[in-house]
């Protein structure tokens, strides 16, 4: 936590914000090319988190297939069980982008998600 705080203090918070906005723009743009997704997060007023589901699939399946491709995401209810229950969802897959990610990470994530969808819908 001390290391993370120190890194953020060294960086300009507005630069972090615009850098993450750039990564998110790339990610949301790429998601439009992948069929069969339910995107839960909004591309605006977004701090770097994108929650989504592959239609008809439990998020644990999607997270597992992404993990096989070295893309680390969380899959499940993210300690928000009443919220997801209210939405009628088993959970979601959550991608998180941070200042230490780059455009190549976004590309890798999109490619991995495309492959996961292909396997799940085959």
């Amino acid at each position: 936590m001390a290391g993370a705080t120190s890194l953020i203090q060294k960086l300009n918070i507005n630069e972090i914000k615009s850098y993450k906005a750039m990564l998110l723009k790339q990610f949301f743009g790429g998601l439009q090319q992948i069929p069969g997704l339910d995107i839960l997060s909004s591309p605006v007023h977004n701090a770097g988190i994108v929650a989504l589901n592959v239609q008809g699939e439990h998020p644990a399946n999607v997270a597992e297939l992404l993990n096989q491709q070295a893309v680390a995401v969380r899959g499940g209810q993210h300690c928000a069980m009443p919220f997801f229950s209210q939405l009628g969802l088993a959970g979601a897959v959550r991608f998180s982008f941070a200042p230490y990610n780059n455009e190549a990470d976004v590309t890798t994530s999109l490619q991995a998600l495309t492959q996961a969808v292909e396997i799940l819908t085959a």
Partner: protein
């Protein structure tokens, strides 16, 4: 549906998985092929009726919900299980576990080493940390049925 009917429906499915799918799984060379097979296995086990999925059957420690039912044949000293999961990869992995342990005696079940069995199937390197934790939670629950 009763537990007896579910056990009767599960038995041939497990037998088919054991003879046909496990050899194919252990020979699959890449993770994509292994996962395709795992997802098919999940479909082969009969689903547990919603009415039977009661909270006491839920296995704690699984990322997705999974239910386990147990039957012990005291005369023959044999343990039988049926299970279901809302995630088909988990259900496939657990189907393998059931293939290996269904019909075991108390002594066999106590000795059973899941990690070693999954290693033999060349599956261990393909399991994430959270998936392994879920499987271990299921195995603990199965072993807790020993007398």
């Amino acid at each position: 549906m009763t537990l007896d009917q579910l056990l009767a429906d599960t038995k041939p499915a497990l037998s088919q998985i054991y003879t046909d799918d496990l050899p194919e799984l252990s020979q699959a060379r890449d993770w994509q092929s292994k996962y395709r097979i795992l997802m098919q296995l999940g479909r082969k086990l009969p689903p547990m009726p919603e009415k039977m999925k009661q909270p006491p059957l839920l296995v704690k420690g699984c990322e997705s919900r999974a239910w386990l039912m147990h039957y012990y044949n005291q005369h023959q000293d044999q343990h039988y299980f049926v299970l279901d999961s809302e995630a088909r990869i988990v259900k496939g992995l657990m189907a393998i576990m059931l293939c290996l342990v269904n019909g075991m005696s108390n002594a066999e079940l106590k000795k059973f080493d899941l990690a070693q069995a999954f290693d033999k199937l060349n599956l261990k390197p393909y399991l994430s940390q959270s998936r392994s934790s879920g499987l271990n939670a299921m195995m603990l629950r199965i072993k807790a049925c020993c007398h």
